[in-house]
Structure formats: structure tokens, C-alpha cells
């Protein structure tokens, strides 16, 4: 076999949900058995993904950091109650989305008029990537939080409808419906230029 193909097949294997789930389960078991490196490995594995989900949900780096930290705290605190019948990533993504939604609710209660999306500084907007991030941030901010969660899981985590449904614990049809609503809004907003 061509070595490059072998590398590809291993890479592919590593990225399949089944393999991911097995690796998660193994890490969880090692954490519970107090293996020194397992907690760090779980953090390495998920911190960037969860941080980015929280960041896109909240639009604020500090809040995203807080949410990620809280989620990991809760994950490790409740690790013994985790049921391995369910997929670990669904559990942690669900916690992240829920924690973000809770924070948005609190933010709305305390400061309903605040637009807390952390857009790049004007000087950075000349840069293409910063401009794209700015536009996306504003577009996401225009969505209802529940719709935003579906869009974030679809476009930033590349989950399937089924996986999104599993994470959010809603029917697949609801996922489609929220995605439809969100994209229609985004399509119209982008057509007008998101303000």
C-alpha cells in the first residue's frame, strides 16, 4: 500500500465519529481512573472547539473563555454521572450551547440594549479575514439565540442535521426548520448589508 494512502486512511479513521467517540470514552475512563494525562488530553481535544462555539454564540472572547472554563468544570465535576451509552461530544457541546444560552439570557436581563458582539477594531477591518469575521459576527447577532445555535453547530462545527439534533435534543425537522429560518434571515440581511 502506498504510504501516503495509509496515512490518509488513518487520518480518516481518526476523524470518523465512531473513532472519535471511542477515543473520548477511553479518555473519560482514564480520567476516572485518575490517569495523570487524561484530563489534559480531554482539554486539548475540546477546548478550542468549545471555545469557538461559545465565541460564535456570544461574540465576546472573555465570555467565551468563561463559558469554556465553566463547561470543563462541569464536565469533570459530573464525569462519574456521564453515561457512555451517549456520545461524549454531544454531551460537552450541549453543555457549551446551554451555558452560552444561559449567559445570553442573563445578559439580556441585565442589559437588554447591549450589543455585546466583539467586533474587530476599525483598523483591523481592512484585513479580509477580520472583515469576514466582523460580518459574520453581526449576522449571527441578528439571529435568535436558538437559531444561532443551529447555525453555529452547522457552519463552525460542521455537524450533520442528526448530530445537531442530538446535541440540542430537538427533532431533526426542528433543526431543518431553524436552519431555514436563520438562513433566510441571513440571506436577507446580507442582501441589505448587515448593519
Amino acid at each position: 500500500m502506498d504510504p501516503s494512502n495509509l496515512w490518509r486512511s488513518e487520518l480518516y479513521f481518526e476523524e470518523t465519529p465512531l473513532a472519535t467517540d471511542d477515543q473520548d470514552r477511553a479518555l473519560v475512563e482514564r480520567c476516572l481512573a485518575h490517569h495523570q494525562d487524561a484530563a489534559g488530553a480531554l482539554v486539548d481535544r475540546y477546548q478550542q472547539r468549545l471555545f469557538n462555539v461559545a465565541l460564535r454564540m456570544l461574540g465576546n472572547v472573555q465570555d467565551a473563555e468563561d463559558v469554556t472554563q465553566t463547561v470543563f468544570f462541569n464536565v469533570f465535576h459530573r464525569l462519574r454521572t456521564y453515561d457512555p451509552k451517549y456520545r461524549f461530544f454531544s454531551w460537552v457541546y450541549r453543555m457549551t450551547v446551554n451555558e452560552s444560552l444561559n449567559l445570553l439570557k442573563r445578559r439580556k436581563r441585565t442589559d437588554p440594549l447591549e450589543d455585546d458582539f466583539d467586533v474587530p477594531a476599525p483598523g483591523a477591518a481592512a484585513d479580509g479575514a477580520a472583515e469576514a469575521e466582523d460580518r459574520v459576527g453581526r449576522a449571527l447577532a441578528s439571529l435568535k439565540p436558538d437559531d444561532r445555535a443551529v447555525v453555529v453547530l452547522k457552519h463552525f462545527v460542521s455537524f450533520s442535521y442528526q448530530e445537531i439534533a442530538e446535541v440540542l435534543e430537538i427533532p431533526v425537522q426542528t433543526v431543518k426548520s431553524r436552519l431555514f429560518t436563520a438562513r433566510e434571515r441571513l440571506r436577507l440581511a446580507l442582501g441589505e448589508g448587515v448593519r
Binding site: A39, F51, T68, V136, E184
Partner: protein
């Protein structure tokens, strides 16, 4: 105009979620309907917009903060004593920065504030809204209390929660003690009672929720926390000008942005604090480390009500309040904070009811005042 079902099919096509039959139907639709083609193009543009946004790296400190907050068994611990000592030394050193650089660790200073509020709230009853609040428990306590308008709180003196507290000898001793009287006569204490910031905190839902939280009570009642409160270095730290200046800094309060963090690191008070012996002693003390490692403490850190109280402007004003600092530095206050009676009080179930009810706490206070006469 394409129907909703047709637009949904177009979306699914972009997501790669269609069956071959559905894909064929979409292709056919796009060939025949220019409006459908326009919508598909716009939807692709929407999807493409997300594709241009790169994942952000989380802040480098995040992993360390997560791992430091883990329950002990899950945290990596070097096996050999020497390695463990090196690890511990490193941890203490890094906490010098962590204690300031993560807003969660503000508990060092702010839990002390929370405690004083608990005590103050308890021994005064929640402060009345009238402008004479500053005279509560002051030089002429008995007259003032006799002068109060009768409320349902007086009726609730028979309340089992209050009775339970007064049946405790140590608590009774506390409210009849000289130090209790001294605190109540303390000018700084009275200023705090009269301050808007204090009243706002006491009236907030978040504060009441926090007082009712088991984890909060556990932290407050823990030996380690009491030792920390009684620790000379801790008190010196709280009284130090650098620590106070730092807490009053906008940059310290607004650490949300990296710019504020940079300002903080360049801040003189921050540098002085790092060099402050008391600060180093506190960070290295067993009591501090035990508090930081305490499960209840971690629960409090993750508690919504706690976060709301910490983020509350009034709470921050109180922390920056000179009178508040004077009170914390007073001997009488320190004796109360270190007393077994206070610990028992905080651990008592009755305390929770008291902290939740303005009427009950006022009734408790009246009874305490009568017991001093």
C-alpha cells in the same frame, strides 16, 4: 417563487444532505426557475461567508485555568516528592499572577467582602430604606430600636428560625459580646450600612440566591476559610495600599479585554502587589491553597448568583469603599470573623431563612439588641 419546501431542498443540497433523488429534483428546479437559482446563489454566499472565518485559538491561559480548577483526583500530580515540590512551587508562583489575572480568583478579596455583608446584614437586619439607616446599632441603639414602627417582623419573633439561633449559646454570646457592640458602634460600619451600594447589594436577587447556596455556606464555614481570614498576611494584604489601588483600577475591573490586561500588567499597583510579602505569604499559605482546592469553592465559582454579585457595580463600589476597608481592618470585626459563634451561625439552617428574609433578619436584630440591654 419557490415554495418553502423547495428552498429547504436547496439548503439541504448546499449542506450535502439530500438523497440522489432530492438532488436531481433540485437540479431540475434550478434549471427551470431563475428565482430558485438566485436564492441558491445567495444561500451559497451565506454558507461561503462562514467558510471565510477561521477558528480562533483560545487564550493560552485557558487550559491552565481549566486544569487548575479541576477536582484534585483528576488533576495531574507528579509522583515523586521532589517533582511534587517543584510542581507545588511552580503552582504557587503562577497563582501569584492567576490570583489577579483571572477574575474568578477575585474571591480572595471579594469573599471577604461577601462575608462582611452577611454579617452586617445579619446583625443589623437588612438595612431599612429610610435615610436614618446609619444610626442602626449606633450610639443609642436601644432608643432607636424602640422607636421602630412595629411590623410583621415583631410578630415573627416566635419564628422557629430565630428561636433556633437564640437557643445557641455561642450565637447568643456573640450578639451580647463587647466586640459585637464595638462593631455596631464602629463609624465605618455605620457608613457602610447607610451606603447606597450596600442597600443595592442586599436588595439584589443574586445576593439572596448566593446566601442560600449550600456551597457558599460550606466555604464560609470551612476551617481553611476561617484560617485565611485570621491570617495576618491576608489582613495585611487587604489593608495594603497596592491591593486597594489595584482593586479600584478600571483595568482590574474590566479585564475582559486584552487591552485592559496589558494595562494591568503595566500597572504600578499590580507590580507592587506581586512584590508584596503579604501577598506572597497568602498565596503560599496552606489555608489559601485549601480554599482554592475546596469543591464548594469551585461550585461557588461556577454559581450564577455569585457571578452576578461579583459583577455588580454596587458590590465593587463597596469593595472600594474606604469605610468598608476600615471595618475589615478593625480588631472587633476580625474577632467576630474568627469566632466559632459566627461559624456556627453561618452553618445553621436557620441562618439561611434569616438571610432570605428582611422581616426575619430585622426581628433577629431587635431581639439581639434587647438581649444586650
Amino acid at each position: 417563487m419557490p415554495s418553502r419546501d423547495q428552498v429547504e431542498l436547496i439548503q439541504q443540497e448546499i449542506d450535502g444532505a439530500n438523497t440522489p433523488e432530492q438532488s436531481a429534483a433540485v437540479r431540475s428546479l434550478l434549471e427551470q426557475d431563475p428565482e430558485a437559482r438566485a436564492i441558491a446563489a445567495e444561500l451559497r454566499r451565506v454558507a461561503g461567508m462562514f467558510a471565510h472565518v477561521a477558528e480562533r485559538e483560545p487564550p493560552a491561559r485557558l487550559k491552565r485555568a481549566i486544569l487548575d480548577a479541576l477536582p484534585q483526583p483528576a488533576r495531574a500530580s507528579p509522583g515523586r516528592p521532589l517533582a511534587w515540590a517543584a510542581h507545588t512551587l511552580k503552582l504557587v508562583t503562577t497563582r501569584l499572577e492567576d490570583a489577579i489575572m483571572t477574575k474568578k480568583a477575585l474571591l480572595i478579596g471579594s469573599a471577604a467582602a461577601a462575608v462582611v455583608i452577611v454579617v452586617a446584614g445579619l446583625i443589623t437586619g437588612f438595612p431599612p430604606l429610610g435615610r436614618d439607616a446609619g444610626t442602626i446599632g449606633g450610639v443609642e441603639p436601644a432608643a432607636r430600636y424602640h422607636g421602630h414602627v412595629m411590623t410583621e417582623a415583631d410578630v415573627s419573633l416566635k419564628n422557629p428560625e430565630i428561636q433556633a439561633l437564640f437557643q445557641n449559646d455561642q450565637i447568643l454570646h456573640l450578639v451580647q459580646s463587647d466586640v459585637f457592640r464595638q462593631v455596631m458602634q464602629n463609624q465605618a460600619f455605620r457608613q457602610i450600612m447607610a451606603s447606597d451600594a450596600f442597600r443595592q447589594i442586599m436588595a439584589s436577587d443574586a445576593f439572596r440566591q448566593l446566601m442560600a447556596a449550600d456551597a457558599f455556606r460550606q466555604v464560609m464555614a470551612s476551617d481553611a476559610y476561617r484560617q485565611l481570614q485570621a491570617n495576618d498576611a491576608f489582613r495585611q494584604l487587604q489593608a495594603s495600599a497596592a491591593f486597594r489601588q489595584l482593586q479600584a483600577q478600571d483595568a482590574f475591573r474590566q479585564m475582559q479585554s486584552s487591552e485592559a490586561m496589558r494595562q494591568l500588567q503595566a500597572n504600578d499597583a499590580y507590580r507592587q502587589l506581586q512584590a508584596n510579602d503579604a501577598f506572597r505569604q497568602v498565596m503560599a499559605s496552606d489555608a489559601f491553597r485549601q480554599v482554592m482546592a475546596n469543591d464548594a469553592y469551585r461550585q461557588i465559582m461556577a454559581n450564577d448568583a455569585f457571578r452576578q454579585v461579583m459583577a455588580n457595580d454596587a458590590f465593587r463600589q463597596l469593595q472600594a469603599n474606604e469605610a468598608f476597608r476600615q471595618l475589615q481592618a478593625s480588631d472587633a470585626y476580625r474577632q467576630i470573623m474568627a469566632s466559632d459563634a459566627l461559624r456556627q451561625l453561618q452553618a445553621a439552617d436557620a441562618f439561611r431563612s434569616l438571610a432570605q428574609s428582611q422581616a426575619l433578619s430585622q426581628a433577629f436584630m431587635r431581639e439581639a439588641m434587647r438581649s444586650q440591654m
